[in-house]
Amino acid sequence: MTGADRTVFVNTAAASTGGTGVPSESVDLTAPFGGGTLPNPVTTASGCAGYGRELAKFLPLAELGSITTKTIMPAPRSGRPTPRMAETPSGMLNGIGLQGSGIEHFVANELPWLAERGARVLVSVAGERVEDFAACARALNGQPGVVGLEVNLSCPNADNSGLVFAANPATAHDVVQAVREVAEPTLPVYAKLAPDVTSITDVAKACVRAGADGLSMINTLPGVVIDTDTLRPHLAGVVGGLSGPAIRPVAVGCVYAVHAAMRAGECAAVPILGMGGIRTGRDALEFVLAGASGVAVGTAIFNDPTAPLRVLDELREALAARGFAKLTDAVGLAHHH
């Protein structure tokens, strides 16, 4: 079946506007974010936009709802040896190892630059111990440009034989709680969840109980690519994270499941930031319909550095074509069946 053969269903609320579509420029893209809002729902996925400087050559950062930074840890990290990347069908596998200059350098050199450009910064933080996360959060209090913290729970826990914090509800809870305790009360804290867990809904519930103001879903999926010429794993770090369009149905499925739990009252309702293989506005709309009120563009940036703004424009068009006057009218609509 081709797209042209399909009927595009329009929002029933559109009947009140007297047509099947609304002018795209009039679509209200205001997006719930933590307890507040952002001007629009599009951000960059952590690790796919650096700290913004490179992308700023291709798009005005302030036009995005926010920019999510590469994950920042307390100390500088060299990252893993190369090869760090392998292209895979409709995606890529990466094992960068969170290379970065550390939180002090970020606060002194990167954040002021972002703030000067009017960027709204969602800072991704991580650590090997609960207190590392809290130390990063503390260092960001009172800093310009920061609109929220994203807690990268896919980092091995040094106190638990290297199992990632996201792997079980209890460790995820502890990290979120520690960050929530030290972060400025007005600053939303998002928990970034891993898809390769027994029940992402249980982890989501634990994070919300711990005070998470939002959930970012999903991180990459672990995978291995073997080089059949060298007969060895392709990445120096062996295991990498799979991203790109290949993982989109997994990501949409996770958002759908957690939003369903919120609708059922099993989990307090907080905004979901959906990500995983978004390349077009249509892809972003899938996440919105599944329950996300924000979307992050990640690996697609490597293909097209202007992808975040393009996705925003395309999402606006896609909402308008289906008769949505407001982004929020579409959030979770796929559950109404």
Binding site: E54, K57, A75, T82, S90, C155, I301, F302, D304
Partner: protein
Amino acid sequence: MAHPVQRQAEIVELSPVGAYHRLVLRAEGIAERVLPGHFAALAVDRADGSLLLRRPFFVHRADPAEATVEVVFAEAGRGTRALARQRVGDVVDVVAPLGNAFPIPTGPASALMVAGGYGGVPLFGLAERITEQGGSVGFILGASTADRLFGVEQARAFTPDVLVTTEDGSYGIRGQITLPLTEAMRAIEARVVYASGPTGMLRAVAEVCAREGVRCFTAVEQTMACGVGVCMSCVLPVVGEDGVSRLVRSCVDGPCLDGSRVRWEDIGAVPPDLEGAAAMGGC
């Protein structure tokens, strides 16, 4: 560093050149910004996202009057095969110019160009600049076999000082490109050596230059995902001005790097004295 732009470029020529392909693209706003050593990142599949990553290629020629840039590539995988199957008139998404260009000596200087395989691609524009400002150039072009050589005639049009090596002896001197290197450097009294080609070759050239006390700039090629500095895939260990070694991105901190600052023996490793190596316990 270059200020890149993204353009939908029209293919005006796509033709074989030896074992390689020559691709000429027309797009406004690129050619006039290109310096020798800059590269272009081409999307090879925008239609359905099945082949996401851009392919980086050194710019061979840039013609501002015609608004064209020319790249040369070898068919090495699915992406470059798809590119080779494009036709004149097709449109390719290009981001260029990218990277740091070769530093050019001020005033007349004697420079030796060392090119492995189609590594000569960025060196001809450089040779032109150096001769324009009264300098002189020599070339050593090497490859595994004669059909993998690139630019032999082009080099001869520049200068009589052209040496060719092939590992199988099918053309020129039999042996590796470093075989005639020391002698060639001395013969033309090279003040600087520019090298472009496979990493092993660059390392060997940099070592000879260090021994001879001659400056050496290398155009490194590491696997890239984005080409614009965000993916952190293409890093290699380099000693900074402050004496501290770091993993730097070959796309935005290179690709043209001082050969004496690259820690060639540590590419693919994280030696303990690298900044941030100590923190690499967990993720």
